[in-house]
């Protein structure tokens, strides 16, 4: 199980537990998409994403696109260093529009 989900005050919080790469993409997509059908607000916690590649980015883009269509509030939270690096490389921060908190610890890692 690469995803943990819990529901609180009508907000579903999903914690990505693992890398988001081509190897996990299919599974993650299948698990994430149902949330868009039932939930009205979705938070995706990216703190544990150790690695993200193009496939992972695509999933997030898909979620964003779908949520827009269905008027679901989607937010990405606690981006891990790997995610931030890729978002910066691809200039996607503004596409998702979520505040990114850059941790002071990263520089050392």
């Amino acid at each position: 199980m690469t995803i943990q989900a819990k529901k609180e005050d009508g907000i579903t919080q999903v914690i990505m537990q693992d890398e988001m790469t081509i190897y996990t993409a299919l599974e993650q997509t299948n698990e994430l998409l149902p949330h868009l059908k039932i939930d009205s607000e979705l938070q995706i916690n990216l703190s544990a994403v150790s690695e993200i590649d193009s496939a992972g980015v695509q999933i997030l883009m898909l979620l964003k696109q779908e949520s827009k269509h269905k008027n679901i509030k989607l937010s990405l939270t606690q981006h891990s260093q790997a995610v931030v690096e890729v978002f910066e490389l691809l200039n996607l921060s503004s596409y998702f529009g979520d505040p990114i908190i850059i941790s002071a610890d990263w520089a050392s890692s």
Binding site: I22, L26, S54, V57, Q58, L89
Partner: protein, 727 residues
């Protein structure tokens, strides 16, 4: 002279040329104000002078020429129209630039410009722009602010534009677009990146393992296009890659293009690859596209394939100005090469001397070979071999010098056709094909008269009057085609008309009346038609001023045969006549095939030799009573050269072995039986003297390496002889 001085004098020279060009350009613009070519050249003059002046620190020139350049750029872009007033102002600018240049050359770079010159300059600028110079000083090194619109994003001048459209299988094939981008970053700075996935499907339809990502990247780097392209080398199959050079590079590419040597016309793609504006991959892709396109299109309608340059621009491999620059350069080179090619005029007698000398060289080369062979020195043999190659190259090149295109001769007939058809009140069109076929100048000169005669014949006898044509259900306009093409060492000239054709009955009637033949029994249609080449035969009932007196066709035939050629006629009654002339390409030196019989050597022109067979071979069977040889089921007449030339009453087979050389001339084939085959031989044709002119079966002689003489066989004549014996 220091380097700087040398550079300065180059600049001064260049500026002089540019300004002269500019002046003449401006004057031409008075007549043709819309000629973009000239506007460009005027613009370039100002632009180049500005650039070079900047290098030397002549800021006053930069400041002044900048204004003129700006105005010219507006003209070039169609924002401002050129009118007489502007032209005269620009002429003033040109003069002023000269003044400024002189001033700069004579004074220190920092010197203050005298007031009156400054005033004059300001006045010109005011006329040009309506502004005064103070408020319009150019910024240093101002970049051309051209902007390219691509999918809504704006690109500044100094960045590469890279678009990456990954194909859906990219991820599955182990590509990660991110890794390419990371690698790209090592070569320069990604100034701006646009990531999007326009084809991302809605939720369920999406395959998370397919790639939907597209990137538009503004990339700042000094790397060359090839280096940048290499970044994506592994992705080439899974990604649509377009790399558009920065606009600032355009100038650079154009300069490189200009620096390319203009001694040879190169293909567009090659030129662009050399500048580095595009890579070999771009070209291959474009060529592929071009051939795909033409394949697709040829199925539907005949549309010319798109020019390569357009495809390159479409594929966003390169900007338009670079392609245009390259095309311009190509055209310029072509003109220059053409101008140079036309330049050398040589007395044809000098060429004749050269050919003679080459002939001697060939002969002494053969003598040398003989000696080398006799003494069996391996090291000398090696040198001799390479010299032989050179000699035959020289021979070919020297002969080529005398080769001229037949087109010029052909074009002269347009006038003949026009005049004659008017005179005969016929409507006749002449079509010329294969005018680029080349043959020896002497042959061209000598073929002119026979051709004229044949064409006049076609005009007069061949093509009917418009009324007759309409009655016969043919279009009113008659049609004559002149066609030339090469065929194994010969040139074939065809004159065809769509006229009435020959009337074989009339020919026979006339031929019998003139005593040419007794009856037409056993004559093929072709043989009957060929009778019109005999003296004293004209089928035209009434002689006209042009032709019809029965003199001429025999002369035509004789002339052509004098050139070792042959003429044939074919006709379909009511549909037209075709006259075919076979001519050897040259009269001076040929590749010969040497054979020996009765210790005498003979040369057969190699182009006429079909094959050689051993006489006792199974595939070849000789019938000496019926006098034919059966070669693999094909019967043909044969001739024993020994019997023919040596009056050998009976063949005494001492040598034991004989060979059959199968020769062909036009449609006719025959076999020559010889004792020995000696192989290929470069043959310099020496004409035989008057004494021998009635000699049959021989057209000339050649001197062999050992000083002996070999006769060159008249293949056509011998084939006829062989056929006669057969009958």
């Amino acid at each position: 002279m220091s380097d700087l001085d040398a550079a300065l004098s180059t600049f001064s020279q260049e500026a002089d040329e540019l300004l002269t060009e500019m002046e003449s350009g401006l004057l031409k613009l008075e007549d043709t104000p819309d000629d973009s070519e000239i506007i460009n050249s005027v613009f370039r003059a100002m632009h180049t002078i500005k650039g070079s002046s900047g290098l030397f620190g002549f800021n006053i020139i930069v400041a002044f020429t900048h204004e003129a350049e700006t105005v010219l750029d507006q003209v070039r872009n169609g924002e401002r129209t050129i009118d007489p007033a502007l032209i005269s102002t620009l002429l003033g600018c040109k003069d002023h630039t000269i003044t400024l240049l002189e001033f700069c050359f004579e004074n220190e770079a920092e010197a203050e410009l005298p007031n009156e010159i400054q005033q004059a300059g300001n006045e010109l600028i005011r006329q040009l722009t309506g502004k005064t110079i103070e408020e319009n000083l150019p910024t240093k090194a101002e970049a051309q602010s051209a902007e390219v619109e691509t999918e809504g994003s704006e690109i500044s001048a100094d960045n590469w534009l890279i678009s990456l459209d990954f194909k859906s299988d990219a991820l599955r094939n182990g590509m990660d677009p991110l890794s390419f981008l990371r690698y790209l970053k090592t070569l320069g700075d990604i100034e701006q990146i646009l990531t999007h996935a326009p084809e991302l499907p809605t939720s369920e339809a999406m395959d998370p393992e397919s790639c939907y990502l597209q990137f538009r990247i503004l990339f700042k780097s000094d790397a060359s296009k090839a280096v940048i392209e290499d970044v994506f080398e592994f992705a080439a199959d899974d990604c649509d890659i377009k790399i558009l050079p920065p606009n600032s590079k355009i100038e650079h590419y154009l300069n490189l293009l200009n620096e390319q040597p203009d001694t040879q016309v190169e293909r567009l793609g090659e030129m662009l690859i050399k500048t580095g504006a595009i890579t070999a991959k771009d070209i291959n892709k474009a060529l592929q596209h071009q051939s795909d396109d033409s394949e697709n299109e040829s199925k539907n309608v005949q549309v010319a394939a798109k020019p390569l340059g357009e495809i390159l621009i479409e594929q966003q491999a390169i900007q338009k100005p670079v392609v245009e620059g390259a095309l311009k350069k190509q055209e310029k080179t072509r003109q220059k090469v053409a101008a140079e090619a036309n330049y050398i005029r040589v007395d044809s007698s000098k060429l004749g001397d050269l050919i003679d000398l080459v002939g001697e060289l060939v002969i002494s080369g053969a003598a040398m070979n003989l000696m080398v062979e006799r003494h069996g020195l391996p090291d000398v043999e090696e040198i001799a071999t390479s010299m032989n190659v050179l000699v035959s190259d020289i021979r070919d090149t020297a002969l080529e010098l005398r080769m001229v295109q037949i087109g010029e001769t052909f074009t002269r007939f347009r006038r003949v056709v026009r005049d004659v058809s008017k005179e005969l009140s016929k409507d006749i069109k002449l079509t010329i094909k294969g005018g680029e076929s080349e043959l020896d100048k002497t042959v061209v000169e000598k073929i002119n008269d026979p051709l004229t005669h044949l064409i006049r014949n076609s005009l007069d006898h061949g093509i009917e009057t418009p009324e007759q044509r309409l009655l016969a259900g043919k279009p009113e306009q008659g049609h004559i085609t002149l066609d030339a093409h090469h065929e194994s060492g010969h040139i074939v000239i065809k004159i065809s008309d769509d006229g009435a054709g020959l009337n074989s009955e009339k020919i026979i009637e006339k031929a019998i009346a003139n005593g040419l033949i007794k009856n037409s029994d056993g004559m093929s249609q072709q043989e009957i038609f060929n009778l019109i080449f005999e003296a004293g035969l004209s089928t035209k009932q009434q002689a006209s001023s042009l032709s019809g007196r029965g003199v001429g066709m025999d002369v035509v035939k004789r002339n052509i045969e004098a050139l070792r050629g042959v003429v044939n006629i074919d006709s379909v009654s009511g549909q037209g006549t075709t006259i075919t002339i076979h001519l050897p390409l040259t009269l001076a030196i040929i590749d010969g095939f040497m054979v020996e019989t009765e210790k005498e050597r003979y040369i057969i022109p190699l182009s006429m030799v079909e094959e050689c067979v051993e006489m006792d071979a199974q595939e070849c069977e000789i019938d000496s009573i019926q006098h034919y040889v059966n070669l693999r089921g094909e019967a043909m007449p044969y001739l024993r050269l020994g019997d023919y030339f040596h009056n050998r009453a009976k063949h005494n087979n001492i040598a034991g072995r004989e060979s059959l050389v199968v020769v062909r001339f036009g449609q006719n084939k025959a076999g020559f039986v010889v004792d020995n085959l000696l192989g290929e031989h470069q043959t310099v044709i020496k004409p035989l003297g008057k004494v021998f002119q009635h000699l049959k079966g021989v057209t000339g002689a050649t001197i062999l390496g050992d000083g002996n003489i070999a006769l060159i066989l008249d293949v056509q004549g011998l084939i006829q002889q062989a056929t006669k014996i057969n009958h």
